[in-house]
């Protein structure tokens, strides 16, 4: 059917495409490009796939955690904090004297009930002094930290907490489509000619993810929990109450299905990154869509060790978190803006003087 008008649009200029009987291609009269029919069909299919790509992968969350045994229940106490509603699980020998999250000293013992038994626990490796030492180190080399902050502030609380985490395991089955360009530039007489070639790149395959941690606690700031990653999972042990004495454990208050959203975002980003890493020899490369389906999506419930340090300064609370296994400590610090201004001026002023002098010396030539 030569010269039959189609509904296809020219990808270069959105003009209507016309089937050219002579070449067997789809031609655009507007910009002069012509395309293989298969290419145009693939591009049309891309649009549908891009619409489908927004779908969230499904996780089998039922497998996470298990019920507690009666013996375990007998050895555990649960406290609830009237101030922040945290529920703290303690070994019977560890009396919870204050809330691990808000510091409220009046925690109420409760009857141990329901909730899931973790699959794994990662034991604490670092003790309290290590956390204090790490904090001092954290202050070091921070030129904009107010001096009074380090001198006056006192660590109000320092607590080792087993934080509830959902660990997401999966094999992501992915199809990612990129648009890439190659730019050639040449000069012919008095014209600069820039030719941009446009390509459609597809990458399909699998990316495996092992135990992406997402904290299941609303009390724990997400940014803090993300920032102290990663943990060394080689030390991950099947859960046992034997690891609890001396520490408090929080009971999750965000379920696995809700936490999965944060895992999905990270998986999507990583799939795009690892597939775009296989794109070579192009200039610009943008993701058109990433279709990700999960195979063997599995969620586990684990307790991971975190040291939480709180300090108050000028009526503000500063929270630091340390990975109880690796010792990585993070936390935002206050900024002494007068110090920033002083440093800024201290650098800019001499440079301005030198630049001014150089300009003056070269002045005649300019």
């Amino acid at each position: 059917m030569p010269n039959t008008a189609t509904l296809y649009q020219c990808p270069a200029c959105t003009g209507p495409l016309r089937f050219d009987g002579g070449s067997g291609k789809l031609a655009c009269d507007h910009c002069g490009n012509s395309y293989e029919t298969a290419v145009i069909e693939a591009l049309a299919a891309d649009k549908e796939r891009a619409a489908a790509a927004a779908a969230q992968p499904e996780w089998a969350t039922e497998a996470a955690g298990s019920p507690w045994s009666d013996a375990e229940k007998a050895g555990l106490r649960i406290y609830s904090c009237p101030a922040c509603a945290a529920e703290i699980i303690c070994d019977a020998s560890t009396a919870a004297t204050s809330c691990a999250y808000c510091g409220n000293p009046a925690v109420v013992p409760k009857l141990f009930s329901g909730s899931l038994r973790p699959d794994y626990v990662l034991p604490f490796r670092l003790e309290k002094p290590a956390a204090l030492e790490a904090l001092q180190k954290h202050y070091k080399g921070k030129r904009f930290l107010p001096r009074e902050f380090t001198q006056q502030n006192h660590i109000e609380e320092i607590r080792g907490i087993y934080v509830p985490f959902w660990l997401f395991d999966c094999q992501a089955e992915a199809d990612v489509c990129f648009r890439a360009t190659r730019v050639h530039s040449s000069t012919v007489r008095d014209e600069q000619i820039t030719v941009t070639e446009h390509f459609r790149l597809t990458r399909g395959g699998q990316v495996a993810f092992q135990k992406i941690p997402v904290d299941g606690s609303t009390k724990m700031p997400d940014a803090h929990m993300d920032a102290i990653e990663p943990y060394d999972y080689k030390e991950l042990r099947p859960f046992s109450t034997a690891y609890l004495p001396g520490f408090q454990a929080e009971r999750y208050d965000v379920d696995a299905a809700t936490s999965a959203e944060r895992a999905n975002v990270r998986i999507r980003k990583s799939v795009e990154e690892s597939f775009s890493a296989t794109v070579a020899g192009y200039g610009g490369c943008t993701t058109e869509y990433a279709n990700i389906a999960l195979a063997q999506g599995e969620v586990k419930y684990a307790l991971l060790p975190v040291w939480m340090l709180n300090t108050r300064w000028k009526n503000q609370t500063f929270t630091f978190a340390m990975n109880g296994q690796t010792g990585k400590l993070i936390g935002d610090l206050p900024v002494a803006w007068p110090r920033v201004a002083a440093w800024f001026a201290g650098i800019a002023a001499p440079l301005a003087a030198v630049a001014g002098l150089l300009l003056y010396l070269l002045g005649e030539g300019l």
């Binding site: 030719v195 399909g204 975002v265």
Partner: protein, 271 residues
């Protein structure tokens, strides 16, 4: 093209030799073949032309003719310049004003040092000094102006600055640019340092990807397709400095003298 030109030049010289009787080579600078001047006037002009020429070692000459014998004014002027032996010394430095009555043509022709002293723009200005009188038929006054002003031009050229189009003075970088440059050199590094230090103050950042949790050889790409779609072409004109006109006097930027391959330069018109 060049060959044809040479042929015509040779032909012109030959015909010129026939057309112009051997009046040349006697060192005269004012030749009034059209008989526009009285002999007294002619003598007075000759005297001042000789004086100026000797002073600046560059001939200032005037030739009047009744007809160009069918030649264009430019070619006629060139052959006449050679034929009449105008030009100072071996370098033949000089300026010639040719006036032809037939079609009321005039032409200022320069050669050698004349090209330096009489720039394109200089010739344009020089015209204004003698054209009004020439148009009025006051030939003696017109030629007197020509000789006198040629002297002025030669004097300017001797001083090192021939009369030429006012050159755009190479401007110093404006103050604003200097201030911006200083600000860039000083504020830039200060900003980078402060930004870098400030970024250290914030360490509680949410994770965006999960690269840490991809095991070794966890990425397997099994489908891979790169398809060319289309090309777009953008053409952009490059602005170029016009450097295709050779100049004497070594001055660029709109001034100077446009010298032909024959070594002459000139300017003419009707009066």
């Amino acid at each position: 093209m060049k060959k044809t030109l040479q042929f015509f030049l040779a032909l012109a010289l030959f015909l010129g030799a026939l057309a112009l009787p051997a009046l040349a080579a006697d060192g005269r600078l004012v030749i009034d073949d059209a008989e526009l001047l009285t002999s007294d006037a002619c003598a007075r002009l000759e005297e001042s032309a000789q004086a100026v020429s000797a002073e600046y070692r560059c001939d200032v000459a005037i030739l009047t003719v009744q007809s160009l014998d069918g030649w264009d004014v430019e070619s006629y002027a060139e052959q006449a310049y050679d034929q009449k032996g105008f030009g100072w010394g071996d370098a033949k430095d000089g300026v010639l004003l040719l006036v032809s009555m037939e079609a009321r043509d005039y032409y200022i022709l320069t050669y050698g040092y004349g090209n330096t002293a009489f720039t394109d723009y200089g010739k344009e200005l020089l015209e204004d000094t003698f054209l009004p009188a020439l148009s009025d038929g006051d030939y003696e006054r017109s030629f007197a102006h020509f000789i006198e002003n040629s002297g002025v031009y030669l004097d300017q050229a001797r001083g090192g600055s021939p009369v030429d189009r006012p050159q755009p003075v190479p401007q110093k970088a404006p103050l604003l640019t200097k201030v911006l440059l200083v600000l860039l050199c000083s504020l830039g590094p200060a900003l980078i340092f402060c930004w870098n230090q400030l970024s250290k103050m914030k360490s509680a950042k949410p994770a965006r990807s999960a690269g840490n949790y991809i095991p070794a050889d966890g990425v397997r790409v099994i489908r891979k397709e790169d398809v060319f779609l289309y090309r777009t072409v953008v053409r952009h004109k490059i602005p170029q400095a016009s450097n295709n006109t050779p100049r004497s006097g070594g001055i660029g930027g709109g001034g100077g003298t446009t010298v032909r391959s024959s070594g002459f330069s000139g300017r003419g018109g009707k009066f």
